[in-house]
Amino acid sequence: MKGSILERLRNEGRNVLAEVEAKEVLKEAGVPVNETLIARSREEAVSLGGKLGYPVVLKVVSQDVLHKTEAGGVELNLAGPEQVMEAYDRIIAAARAKYPGARIEGVSVQRMIAGGTEVIIGLTKDPQFGPMLMFGLGGILVEVLRDVSFRIVPLTETDAREMISEIKGYPLLKGFRGSAPVNEDALAEVLTRLSNFIELHPEIDEMDINPLFATEKGVIAVDARMILKWDE
């Protein structure tokens, strides 16, 4: 299919991508993502929950709500239809209260992923050396410890492996105190795929995949956002 998501976004002149669209782009880059669908009503949320399989996570979808968690816009581990309906109402109400006048598209629904280590993969552009990928432990650790590594695009396989093993928290990925080691091959593969994709798509200007869950079996992107910058 030639009608790629990025082409569509270019035609629409879009710059800031929230979770759902960012994940569509990632999917095209070959990054496994946790399928995420948008519900525009509580009933739709319930039907999507049934389709994706419980437990699910609901998140507010709005270009105007930048910090979803702080706005009460995220509800985790919802086990069934009643919980989904209640959570839907709470999320919409909280977002309206915190961001009056925000354009709220609805609520995204995805399966709750349990287990695995949270990591972050990001992209930024250095004014001198161009696109650089970042890897580190995800969640709040990335903000507090800044335990991350960078590589300039394009990455070789060696680069990808080194940027994983170079962080201080690497022992956590190797399996710590009996926990299973994460699949480093899959992580390295995602990094090199992203590198290739970014080379082909210089319009991707900034990106956070946070968190990406890494397990023994593989990896899956759970949340992401992106900035696109189109040439004139």
Binding site: R146, V148, F150, I152, L155, T156, R161
Partner: protein
């Protein structure tokens, strides 16, 4: 029109001029118009030299010409010492003399930060490009090519060697060549390129990476014009030969939008360090380390392990030596079994006393000589290299002190000459004063240092500096192996 020929053909022409014109040459000593003439004469340039100055008939014994176009033959290379505003006219005269390369020592262009300087530099650069002239500078010292008798300072080594250099700063390059020269390092080709209006850091790096005379490259850099190209060029260069980099100028983190965590965290990271690491360039922390690393890579072969045997010195000195090696990331292993076997056979009473580092002072009267022990260590596969310390602290009188130092140094030299194990020597250099250099004790050590350097041995002034350089050297070769194995992009 683009410059003629490939990059390597163009630069080969620059380094092998059959004739050089110094435009703005002068008979007044210690003006640059005089110095650039005199540097060439003292360095033994054998091509034809043409001083150009409208007000002189003769400069330093050479017939002078009023302008480039008045010179009766072809001029391959021009060194410009004239004022910035006269340069465009001089460039326009170049085609008539078939000039291939121009070095602009001339400054006061874009580095001044003013608009007219920028515009003038741009005009010169595009004119040179149009005429197919390779341009070096402005605001730089040009080329040092000892093999061709080309130099840009007094007293730079006349012998040629394998270190290539690329320097954004001319002053740093002169110091570097002198400091490394004292340590026995000799050079293939060095370029001080200044404002890089013509040939830039990436052009020069690409050229030296492919240059057969250059075995390793030292770069001093403050900024780049095209970061992406430099990254790719550096990566390719470091894959074929060691590239040692000293980065000048702190990079201030840019403030950017905080949309993503990635961008906000990236602000506190040094992209240059990321880049150097990714390319497997060897980064020097400061000028001293820059020289130390160049000495190490110049004299030592490829070493693929960090197991160090530490020899020489007594008592606390060997303890500190071991600490410093470990701190630098080296592996101070226990004496390997074959060395122990040797001790058991020759002098069993020392089997529990001798260890790594080896304190030779305890061997007095033993049935195993230091030489035998060293030979055993050099021959053992349990060590990747040896760090040999000169025992300056020996307690004896003049004659015996000097005799022991000589004996020790000669033994290191013999072991090194045997070529079975890479080794470096440390001789203290505590910052001698004028009067010290005449004292027999320091004089002896300076002589030993010089002798070892001239025999191709890497000499360091402390165990710490030796260990740091060796650790980075081994990392370079191990990384290179791994990167080759991991496949190119």
């Amino acid at each position: 029109m683009k410059a003629k020929g490939t990059l390597s053909e163009r630069l080969n022409a620059v380094f092998h001029p059959r004739s050089i014109a110094v435009v703005g040459a002068s008979a007044t000593p210690n003006t640059f118009g005089y110095l650039f003439m005199d540097y060439l004469i003292k360095a033994g340039y054998t091509g034809t030299l043409y001083p150009v100055n409208p007000n002189s008939d003769q400069i330093l014994g050479f017939k002078a010409y009023p302008s480039l176009k008045d010179i009766p033959g072809d001029v391959d290379y021009v060194i410009s010492c004239i004022g910035a505003r006269h340069v465009p006219e001089m460039i326009r005269q170049c085609p008539a003399r078939n000039v291939k390369g121009v070095h602009l020592f001339t400054a006061r262009m874009s580095e001044t930060g003013d608009k007219r300087g920028h515009e003038l530099e741009k005009e010169i650069s595009s004119e040179a490009g149009r005429l197919g002239i390779s341009l070096i500078g402005p605001n730089c010292m040009g080329i040092y090519y000892p093999k061709g008798g080309i130099s840009y300072a007094y007293d730079l080594p006349k012998r040629s060697g394998k270190v290539g250099g690329i320097f954004q700063s001319g002053g740093i390059s002169v110091n570097f060549i002198r400091y490394a020269g004292i340590r026995g390092v000799t050079f293939s080709k060095v370029v001080s390129y200044g404002n890089a209006a013509g040939l830039n850091e990436s052009d020069l790096l690409e050229y030296l990476a492919g240059d057969d005379e250059t075995g390793l490259i030292a770069i001093y850099i403050e900024g780049v014009r095209d970061g992406r190209r430099f990254f790719k060029t550096l990566k390719k260069a470091a894959a074929v030969k060691p590239v040692i980099v000293l980065k000048g100028g702190r990079t201030r983190a840019g403030t950017r939008s905080t949309f993503s965590h990635t961008a906000s965290i990236a602000g506190s990271f040094n992209a240059w360090e990321v880049m150097f690491r990714q390319c497997n360039a060897v980064q020097a922390a400061d000028m001293d380390e820059f020289v130390d690393l160049t000495v190490a890579f110049n004299f030592l072969p490829e070493i693929n392990g960090k197991r160090v045997g530490v020899i020489g010195g007594s008592g606390g000195k060997v303890v500190l030596a071991a600490d410093e090696c470990e701190q630098a990331g080296l592996d101070v292993v226990a004496l390997p079994e074959d060395v122990k076997e040797l001790i058991r056979n020759k002098a069993p009473e020392f089997i529990n006393w001798l260890g790594n580092p080896v304190d030779f002072s305890i061997l007095t009267g033993a049935k195993i000589t230091p030489m035998e022990l060293m030979q055993g260590m050099a021959g053992s596969s349990g060590f990747d290299f040896l760090v040999c310390n000169v025992t300056e602290e020996n307690p004896f009188d003049d004659f015996m002190w000097a005799q022991l130092i000589t004996f020790e140094v000669n033994e290191y030299l013999n072991i090194s000459s045997a070529g079975i194990k890479p080794l470096v020597v440390t001789i203290a250099n505590p910052g001698l004063g004028m009067s010290n250099t005449g004292e027999w004790r320091w004089k002896t050590l300076l002589e030993k240092r010089e002798m070892l350097a001239s025999r191709g041995i890497a000499v360091f002034s402390s165990v710490r500096s030796a260990a740091t350089a060796l650790s980075k050297l081994v990392n370079y070769y191990l990384n290179r192996k791994r990167m080759r194995h991991g496949g190119a992009e």
